[in-house]
Amino acid sequence: MELTPQDKSSEQSPESIEAGEKERWASLIGGGAMVLMGLRQRSLRGVLMAVAGGGLLYQGAKKQSTLKQAQEALGLNQPIKVEKTVTINKPAAELYSYWRDFEKLPTFMKHLESVTVLDDKRSHWVAKAPLDAKVEWDAEIIQEQENELIAWASTEDADIENSGFVRFKPAPGNRGTEVKVVMEYNPPGGAIASALAKLFGEEPDQQIGDELRRFKQLMEAGEIATTEGQPSGRD
């Protein structure tokens, strides 16, 4: 798969190349191949921004990366990417509308303390960190298609830089909806790094998987299966 506009045929004008790529990305998001794109790129955020900003921000992100590439080569500051999908026995519209009401997300996302919607695009997120610490950030919706997709990125001053999208796609054969989350975040450096690294769990894949399973339980069964608070001979 071609990933960079520069590799396109030199006979095309730069404008038409950019327009073509923009269209392609837009359709890719709709069609779902976005995931592969995002994971093959150095930065999912870059791709998402490209869709929102017509490729320019993406280009910017690519070009400022001499230092970043060096860090990546050394294994420093590597963004963590997670991709998880679950099939839920409900129509896409129902799942989308629950998710889009961000203030409800803490009902199944255990690491979240609260989400406050600021306006149609922006929201404020507070997550629990170890040792009673909190991590906060503002997030912005950068791409949205009703009943299909929500893509977001944290704004510049976030404690933990993150971006991603959730996609709702009807499953074949009346099996409900495939809900896919692709997420990327940069573990912050410095002294709080190890504490913050735990924010998304020891294994981010598992944590996102758990959250998707809880979402599925809530949507299908109306409640989240639990054994917390039951008796045992350990009490």
Partner: protein
């Protein structure tokens, strides 16, 4: 309340623990009137099922009386007499909607563990390890029943517990074992294991049109029960090789269907037994597949193997060449109790099935440690113990 708490391999204790509480809207609390020790509880007791923790309340075959319901349960009332299936199903996922309740997507809160080991999540089972949900079990005075608005079977008050209790687990397991065989009129069905599940599989096989049922075990009292109540011909595998015997009894063809009602703690004879016992002790294989091996070789060409005995992990030295070249069909799984319970209750009400013959011991809950010991070691002709809280 009092509850049977697992301590370590071959060690259970009756402890005082807090009473269960409603934790979710679809929960109910049931006061247990009878609870049995299932053959598969012996896998837990013996320490063969991973992720069982010290202090876990075990047991999954039970019935009782509803004493409290959550606000999401509209079809049960305090005072209802109920039998509860051992596998927990939400009733709303793709699998439950298609009557495959033991494959429920939503009842296991520890699904990630199963996903890692099995590649997918299956239903939780009461008191059957944290891998399978970590729910507190039924060998106790009270139990919390999740998703109580679906699957739970209301039963009439006049029948004794002994006629109803096994609708919770052993009868549907045996019944499903026979159903998976897709029995045709005239078929010969061989059943390995003459415990409760084996007995009910044999009875069910006849109901489904089997002409002959052959039972395989090593304990005379269990074989006698199979002859007397399940009308089976019997093979004691410690006296004769079951493969040779089955061949001779079926005109050289082999049985049309073979049901495994034994599972991962199967016993064999000679070198093969030594091999599996040793490998299991060294943790080089988790399960002892004697019965599976015998079934694969003994079954007739094009026949069906139905596996209801529990397997937990990995087995080796499997004669896959036999199974492949003979074109065998394998069917298996934890039972979908909710699918069968109404039908089975009707059979009991109509007098066509009286499961109470299986009970050899009835003991107070306090005597659970003794009950486990005699059941595991087959002392005192023990086939099935019912505990009374």
């Amino acid at each position: 309340m009092k509850a049977v708490c697992w301590q370590s391999a071959n060690n259970v204790r009756v402890d005082n623990v807090p009473d269960p509480k409603i934790l979710n809207p679809r929960d109910a609390i049931v006061k247990i009137t009878s609870t049995a020790i299932c053959g598969s509880d012996l896998h837990i007791y013996g320490g063969y099922i991973p992720t069982v923790q010290k202090g876990d309340i075990i047991g999954h075959e039970f019935m009782g009386e509803v004493v409290e319901v959550g606000k999401g349960v509209n079809n049960l009332q305090v005072g209802d007499r109920v039998v509860v299936p051992s596998t927990i199903g939400c009733g709303r996922c793709y699998y439950c909607e298609r009557d495959m309740w033991s494959l429920c997507d939503n009842s296991n809160p520890n699904g990630w563990m199963e996903e890692k080991l099995f590649g997918n999540i299956t239903s939780a089972i009461y008191g059957y390890s944290h891998l399978l949900g970590g729910y507190a079990g039924a060998q106790a005075e009270y139990i919390r029943v999740p998703f109580a608005d679906v699957g739970v079977l209301k039963v009439p008050k006049e029948l004794p517990d002994e006629k109803l209790l096994f609708i919770s687990d052993a009868i549907p397991t045996g019944y499903m074992g026979a159903e998976l065989c897709d029995i045709q009129p005239g078929d010969t069905v061989a059943v390995w294991g003459c415990g409760a599940v084996g007995q009910f599989a044999m009875i069910s096989a006849y109901m489904m049109g089997a002409e002959r049922v052959i039972a395989i075990d090593r304990f005379p009292e269990r074989l006698e029960m199979a002859r007397k109540y399940a009308k089976a011909e019997t093979i004691n595998y410690e006296e004769v090789d079951p493969g040779d015997a089955l061949k001779e009894m079926t005109g050289g063809r082999g049985p049309d269907c073979c049901i495994d009602a034994v599972g991962l703690e199967a016993h064999g004879v000679g070198v093969e037994d030594f091999y599996d016992q040793t490998k299991q002790k060294l943790k080089l294989e988790t399960d002892r597949p004697h019965v599976l091996r015998q079934m694969m070789v003994a079954c007739r060409k094009g026949g069906t193997l139905s596996i209801m005995g529990v397997y937990g992990g990995f087995v080796d030295k499997m004669p896959l060449g036999a199974a492949f070249n003979k074109g065998l069909t394998f069917r298996m799984g934890q039972m979908h109790g909710q699918k069968y319970m109404r039908l089975l209750l009707q059979l009991v009400l109509d007098g066509k099935l009286d499961p109470s013959f299986i009970v050899t011991h009835q003991l107070p809950l306090d005597e659970a440690p003794h009950a486990y010991k005699i059941f595991q070691q087959k002392q005192d002709n023990c086939v099935k113990v019912v505990l009374k809280p």
